[in-house]
């Protein structure tokens, strides 16, 4: 019987104790979920497991044998594979080459045996029953299949312990189902699965046991069937969320039409038309790749608009680039916060004031006092937790980074805010704060376009919902009549 | 559309730049050519009279396989060889390999096809020496190498060679300075310093600097050892700046010295030292001697006095002279190539390596000695 045991693992970074005496065991044939808020120590534990970093004290036992991994290489040879959020694949190589990355079959003449390579890979693909080809290039297949490539790599290595780090964060619901099928197959084959996720609902679908961490401390290990979401959240944050969305203060005043989009076409989306009113939260639902992000980028001037009209306050406006969109009162918090949202190496202050540089400058010179005043004000309003305005934004938690991006558009007096997956990668407690913030902004009369892949969020927050599939709008739903089932039907079925 | 326009603009600009560049170059080249032609015509006229007396010899065609014709030295070589050729009933056929060794081999075949009698080679790649020598032997061509030695894998010469003697050039400069000390009655060496500008990773500069040091120390034996300074130049800094910085550093390190003697292994670097001396106000007593004279001559055309006292001058004439002499010995006198330049032959070598060092020129006599190279 295979098992892995963590025993008294301690890890301290310069000033922060990341892990304190973590001990638990995961057995073969069980999916052990690891949950906790951001900063609870999940990632650190995975890094120790993968040999990326070394614990200060404590050890890992595999089948009772003590192991100390000095490098990822040692962990791999001991049968451990960790599948990270950031996929570790080579985009320009084929599926087969990625799966057999470090052990390409070689012919007698030292050349790569492509026949054998593709045959072996095909066999693995068949095992998992996936619709991809060994010779597909990895950057031509979807994110979900890229992840499958990683899993196949772990499977090919015959890893007995496979850990997943937030595997579903960029997958749509149907893709998640596919992933779960694969994970169940691995479980049946007797692998030890460690599954790290924010999404409690998934944990109930896939796992047998749940380990809860909080602030680097082991809180509890419970059997999934004997617990509930409420209990887990209580463990994680020390309070009962109850029904999160019911407790939020909602906006009741919907005003005039503020933005109307008529027949917009771009390379990726076609025939998009919708309206949004002052004070309205308009949810955009759909699977990953349905064209929601692309629609917003086209409206915002980030991508080229082939045809269609945009009306703001009943005036036809021309938007040729983001800067003209901003002049018209639009603001966009992009889907990929770290690569398109925040400017990592710069301060909180500069990350906010970037949208109002014109306003705070006199003859090209920055009025630092004015900048400081405006920003201090907004930072206080939104309750952004930062040591100082000069702190680099990357030192802030995900939730606070998202708030900084919101602040960027609030200082620019945006009237229409486009929020693309604003709660991705943010822990439960901070999510609630962001929800309330969005509702508060709507109460102030802003029109908010809210894109999310989490259906509960969309249903819980939106006044109206637009559902998209394959670059087109497939339906409109009123907030109160929307259910997950209705949305999924529109999003998935032709 | 916009992209297309931009690309066109960029290409147009680049073409324009290149054309103006080439235009400039051609102008200078053309100018040079006309001057060369004038002199050759004059010389030819003079020679005509002499020629009538001698027996009319068989007409020869000599090939010049050039490494790259865009450098001034190669243009001068061609002109000088043409001048010699017109004196001895021969014509020069030039081909430009443009740094491409493969092309140079092809050009040699070409020349063999055109039945030339001999070739002068500025080799594009030293590794090809053996190949070229073999081809010439098969085709029974006289072969002389200039500027870069043609040697086999054991370092043995594969044909008669002519090259500049860097060490020897250092020698004549040091000799000139020793004489300068004597002429100016400088006998108290306490406050006299010698800067021997030097760059250890460039062979020909290293040779020149060694020639200076060895000779000077031999001729002025009581010159204090600590006052003779080899100043290394930074190779990332080019030309005058390298000389300037190296000289400046040495001058700064020795405030006790009031009379500086400087040798620059190149003209520009010597010039840099002159600027450094002027900068610190020590130029009145100083004496700078450089090698090359192509920048010194411009300095000497100015009215003002300068501490740039002399330069060793060599030209394509010196080189072409030796090359032509060897070529004529083989083709006209039927000498075995192994006996050409026999006075320069070293132990263990089959062929002679002729060298030239040039001569010293000063502000007073440079026009006279340098002739057309003074302009």
């Amino acid at each position: 019987m295979q098992y892995i045991e963590f025993k008294n693992i301690n890890k301290t970074y310069v000033s922060i104790r990341a892990l304190k005496n973590i001990s638990f065991t995961a057995r073969a044939g069980e999916v052990c979920a690891l949950v906790g808020e951001n900063g609870a120590g999940k990632s650190t534990l995975l890094k120790i497991l993968s040999g990326d970093i070394q614990p200060d004290s404590g050890s890992i036992f595999i089948d009772g044998k003590e192991k100390h991994f000095k490098s990822p290489q040692e962990a791999i040879t001991s049968g451990i594979s960790v599948i990270y959020q950031e996929r570790q694949i080579v985009p320009f190589l084929t599926v087969a080459e990625n799966v057999f990355m470090e052990e390409l079959p070689i012919k007698k003449n030292q050349l790569i045996d492509f026949n054998k390579l593709n045959k072996c890979t095909q066999k693995i693909i068949d095992d998992f029953n996936l619709p991809i080809d060994p010779t597909d290039r990895v950057n031509d297949i979807s994110v979900a299949y890229q992840q499958m490539v990683e899993i196949m790599k772990a499977y090919r290595r015959n890893s007995q312990i496979i850990a997943f780090d937030e595997p579903t964060s960029s997958l749509s619901d149907s893709e998640i189902d596919m992933l779960f099928k694969v994970i169940r197959k691995l479980k049946e084959e007797g692998k030890v699965i460690i599954y790290v996720s924010h999404r409690l609902k998934e944990i109930f679908q896939i796992s047998e046991t749940v380990v809860v961490l909080k602030d680097g401390v082991y809180i509890a290990k419970v059997e999934t069937t004997k617990t509930s979401e409420q209990e887990l959240i209580r463990y994680m944050i020390g309070r009962d969320l109850g029904d999160v969305f019911k407790s939020l203060r909602r906006n009741k005043n919907i005003g005039d039409v503020i933005l109307e989009v008529k027949g917009v076409n771009s390379d990726r989306v076609s025939d998009i038309s919708f309206k949004i009113h002052e004070g309205e939260i308009l949810g955009f639902a759909g699977l990953v790749g349905a064209g929601r992000t692309e629609t917003m980028r086209a409206i915002f001037g980030a991508d080229i608009l082939n045809s269609g009209e945009i009306w703001i306050n009943n005036k036809h406006v021309r938007i040729k680039d983001p800067s003209s969109a901003i002049v018209e009162g639009l603001g966009l918090c992009p889907e990929d916060r770290s690569s398109e949202g925040v400017i990592k190496s710069r301060s909180v202050k500069e990350n906010i004031s970037i949208s109002i540089l014109k306003k705070i400058c006199r003859q090209g010179f920055i009025d630092f006092k004015r900048e400081e005043n405006i920003i201090k004000n907004e930072v206080n309003n939104l309750g952004i937790k930062t040591p100082s305005l000069q702190t680099e934004i990357i030192e802030l938690s995900g939730g606070n980074q998202q708030k900084v991006l919101l602040a960027r558009w609030l200082v620019s007096n945006a009237k229409i805010l486009i929020l693309d997956e604003p709660t991705r990668g943010i822990d439960v407690g901070a999510k609630v704060e962001i929800y309330q913030l969005i509702l508060d902004l709507a109460s102030k009369g802003l029109g908010i376009i809210f894109i999310s892949s989490e259906l509960s969020e969309i249903i819980g927050l939106s006044d109206n919902i637009v559902v998209m599939r394959e670059g087109r709008i497939t339906g409109f739903l009123k907030g109160e009549e929307a259910t997950e089932e209705k949305i999924l039907t529109l999003a998935m079925l032709k | 559309m916009k992209k297309l326009l931009v690309s066109i603009t960029i290409i147009a600009c680049l073409v324009f730049l290149t054309l103006t560049g080439v235009g400039c170059k051609e102008e200078t080249a053309a100018e040079e050519e006309t001057t060369v032609e004038e002199t050759t015509e004059e010389e030819a006229e003079e020679e005509e009279a002499a020629e009538e007396e001698t027996v009319v010899e068989e007409e020869l065609t000599i090939g010049l396989l050039s490494m790259i014709m865009s450098i001034v030295w190669e243009q001068d070589m061609e002109a000088e060889l043409k001048a010699f050729a017109s004196e001895s009933n021969a014509t020069i056929l030039t081909m430009d390999a443009n740094m491409d060794p493969a092309l140079q081999l092809q050009q040699l075949d070409n020349m063999i096809g055109q039945e030339v009698d001999g070739v002068v080679v500025f080799i594009a790649d030293q590794e090809m020496s053996k190949a070229i020598a073999n081809k010439c032997e098969e085709a029974d061509l006289a072969l002389i190498a200039e500027s870069i030695r043609m040697i086999d894998e054991n370092g043995k010469l594969v044909c008669p060679n002519v090259e500049l003697d860097g060490y020897g050039m250092g020698v004549i400069c040091a000799e000139w300075i020793a004489q300068y000390l004597e002429d100016n009655d400088i006998t108290d060496y306490e406050t006299v310093g010698f800067i021997d500008l030097d760059q250890a990773d460039v062979t020909n500069i290293w040779d020149r600097a060694n020639g200076v040091e060895d000779t000077f120390k031999e001729l002025v034996p009581d010159f204090p050892e600590e006052n003779f300074i080899r100043s290394p130049m930074d190779r990332e800094k080019a030309g005058a700046l390298a000389g300037f910085d190296a000289a400046m550093a040495t001058i700064t390190a020795h405030p006790e010295i009031d009379t500086w003697l400087v040798t620059g292994p190149n003209d520009d670097q010597g010039g840099g030292a002159v600027r450094a001396l002027e900068q610190v106000g020590l130029d009145e007593n100083a004496c700078v001697v450089s090698m090359g004279a192509e920048s010194a001559r411009d300095e000497w055309k100015k009215e003002e006095d300068t501490c740039w006292k002399a330069a060793s001058f060599f030209s394509a004439y010196d080189c072409a002279n030796l090359v032509w002499e060897g070529m004529m010995q083989i083709l006209r006198e039927g000498k075995d190539p192994k006996d050409v330049y026999s006075e320069f032959k070293e132990e263990g070598q089959d062929y002679g390596l002729a060298t030239f060092t040039g001569q010293m020129v000063t502000k007073a006599d440079f026009r006279e000695i340098m002739g057309k190279y003074a302009e």
Partner: protein, 315 residues
């Protein structure tokens, strides 16, 4: 004591200043004349030319760009100025034409990067090659003598004993520092360098910023090239590769982050001073050239690892 150490660790440039002081002390101990007014002026003079280019590169690197061509552009500018002066063009007009030429080069580079989406590294490498060649071609491969007295004064003259190039350098430093820290342009350079995609979505036009950036280095290089030409009384066609290497090294040593978004002009200034005092010291000590190369490399590693040690401890 602990407080002082913490303060030192916080200040980005302190480790460099300590190295700078150490270098000066060591060289002075070996060769007392190193610390003389004349030599300090020497150091400042070489620093002034490399420094101008380094300031340009600092802007570019902060903006996430790079320019490899300044050494070639400097040589080209020097030769061009000499040719123009010899053709009887007045000095002021000559300077104007050469700077205009440099701006044209910069504009060409920016067009290729903005519209043809070429890599800055490749584009500027090509431009470097083109102008290395052109510098030889327009002058026929020789150095071109300069006789214009006022132009020579521009390179070699001084005001109250301070060489003019140092004065120009100081003025450029102050202006550039103000531009970088206090103006909208400076702020946007940081933003674009920190994250181009994000700054575009926040309403900045990165193409415009890049166009402006690529004007700076060629202009700095051309001014440096003309000062050098004036000082040497001749336009020298050989590319001043030390300008490019020196400028890049100084900027990186001075804490400008390769990849963009971070760095200060005074950091770069300290980097330049550090490098030049070191190079000068080695020359004053009469160390052979190849040892100079080795020592420069070692210095770069020491400076960067000192910086790394400091930031690592901060985290």
């Amino acid at each position: 004591m602990k407080k002082i150490i913490k303060k030192i660790q916080k200040n980005e440039q302190v480790s460099l200043i300590i190295i700078l002081i150490a270098i000066v002390c060591v060289f002075t101990a070996i060769q007392p004349n190193y610390f003389s007014v004349r030599n300090l002026i020497n150091i400042l003079f070489s620093a002034s030319i490399v420094g101008m280019v380094a300031f340009g590169e600092t802007f570019l690197i902060i903006g996430g760009q790079i320019d490899l061509s300044p050494g070639a552009v400097a040589a080209f500018s020097g030769v061009l100025a000499a040719i123009l002066l010899n053709a009887g063009v007045p000095m002021i007009l000559t300077i104007f034409i050469v700077i205009a030429m440099a701006m044209l080069i910069g504009y060409l580079i920016s067009l290729m990067i903005n519209f043809l989406k070429m890599e800055p590294f490749i584009v500027t490498l090509a431009i470097m090659s083109v102008f290395t060649g052109l510098a030889f071609i327009i002058g026929g491969g020789r150095s071109i003598p300069i006789t214009n007295k006022s132009f020579i004064y521009f390179g070699a003259g001084d005001i109250f004993g301070i060489p003019i190039s140092i004065v120009i350098f100081a003025v450029i430093f102050v202006i550039f520092h103000i531009i970088l820290t206090r103006t909208r342009f400076g702020r946007t350079v940081y933003m674009v360098g920190g994250n181009e995609a994000a700054s575009r979505l926040a309403g900045i036009n990165p193409k415009k910023i890049k166009t402006m950036l690529y004007l700076i280095t060629p202009v700095m290089a051309s001014i440096g090239g003309m000062i050098l030409a004036g000082r040497m009384n001749s336009g020298q066609p050989t590319a001043q590769s030390h300008l490019m290497f020196g400028a890049l090294t100084a900027a990186i040593v001075g804490g400008v982050r390769f990849g963009g978004g971070k760095g200060t002009l005074y950091g770069c200034l300290i980097g330049v001073l550090l490098l030049e005092s070191f190079k000068n010291g080695i020359a004053v000590l009469n160390v052979q050239t190849f040892w100079q190369n080795v020592a420069s490399g070692v210095l770069l590693i020491v400076a960067l690892s000192a910086d790394y040690a400091r930031t690592a401890r901060n985290k």
